[in-house]
């Protein structure tokens, strides 16, 4: 065999081995595209071989973790004025978009409280018979939630929750007063907002 042929043969064999190794590696990996805004960085943590491992992501990018990793959590280290956030239901793509910090949300809520209550009472006048328990703002000031308690106890005096959305036209009541919000009844409202409204 000539030297040239041996070199070519070695090159091809190396290429094949590299390809097979790559092929095997890809098959063992799970790829997750991480997107975020208003985070200093993001972290993906997961359980693999009974050990918790984590990867720091900065800037947003696609990372790979073992296919059999469990309890995968994407977390955001927030920028100033934003709250920490994490996503436990991690699919092939993750968007980490932290909400405003609690103090910032409280301030926005306080400043808009009167307008929001006006919008609510206009649509549901009977809520005037209830007392306001809590108000909060989510989704960077786009969504408002208020909870109401009945003043007198009876079989239907449940705590009621209501969601308001800030739009160009002002504050619009986008839900009925409910005991609980579910993604089936309100598919157009982000799940995060429903979840936070249910926990207010």
């Amino acid at each position: 065999m000539s030297r040239k042929f041996v070199v070519l043969l070695s090159f091809l064999i190396t290429l094949i081995l590299a390809g097979v190794s790559f092929f095997w590696y890809i098959g063992q990996q799970r790829f997750i595209k991480i997107n975020y805004d208003n985070c200093q960085s993001a972290t993906i943590s997961y359980e693999y071989n009974k050990k918790v491992q984590s990867k720091n992501i900065n800037p947003p990018s696609t990372i790979s973790i073992p296919k059999t990793a469990k309890n995968v959590v994407a977390e955001c280290k927030p920028s100033d004025g934003f709250a920490s956030t994490n996503i436990t239901d991690v699919g092939s793509e993750v968007f980490l978009q932290p909400d405003f910090s609690e103090s910032k949300r409280e301030l926005i809520s306080k400043n808009n409280s009167a307008k929001i209550l006006d919008a609510i009472y206009q649509k549901y006048p009977k809520l005037r018979d209830y007392k306001v328990v809590k108000q909060s703002v989510y989704g960077r000031g786009l969504w408002y939630v208020a909870t109401f308690d009945a003043k007198e106890y009876d079989y239907n005096s449940d705590r009621l929750r209501i969601i308001i959305k800030q739009e160009d036209s002002g504050f619009n009541v986008v839900s009925k007063p409910e005991i609980i919000f579910t993604k089936y009844q309100y598919p157009l409202i982000p799940r995060d907002v429903l979840l936070q409204a249910n926990n207010l």
């Binding site: 091809l12 239907n156 449940d158 705590r159 919000f181 089936y184 009844q185």
Partner: protein, 206 residues
Amino acid sequence: MNRKFISSILVIVLLFVAYGIYVQLSRIGKVRVDIETIPVSSLVTVDGEIVTGKSVYLAPGEHMFIASKDGYLESRSKLDVSETNNYVGLLPIAESESAIQSSVNDAAAREAVGGKIATARGNMLREKATIISKLPRITLVGPYRIDYGIQGKDNTSHPYLLISNSTPKGRQNALEWIRSEGSEPTDLDIRFPDFINPVTGGGIDE
């Protein structure tokens, strides 16, 4: 051995490896969905694209599967594809005389696929609401009763929970119990049939 022969073999192997890498890369982030049809020669499309194999790799989410064949009424199935929801059985119904005759021979196979469809649907419903395996739940201390039903008939159907025989405190206790069992009420279709909303005047699922 002839150098040309060795080189040719290596080039072919290399092409196979390259193709393998390409196929593997194109499957990243996708789920393998197994498709069975009776008659087996039915034409299958997924989201309008013809599928030739018995499985297809799809991105998670809703996809429409259709099986059609001359002489048969087409069979459609919408599937919310996920790692655990990855089987589609399609059974076009014989319409013409010749199709009816040949479908007699397929009866056992149709029954087998029908069984798999039912199992897959059961798994899908349990995946959507693991809590249903613990229902019904009746407690006098709550007080509440939680039952469930199924909304819809195809692969995108989902279970709904009925919380009844309760009081304001009992309904909160029922929701707390659901949370304590590892389910999030926000992700469930929860209805309160005996709650009359004093503000709107109707039930919660009016």
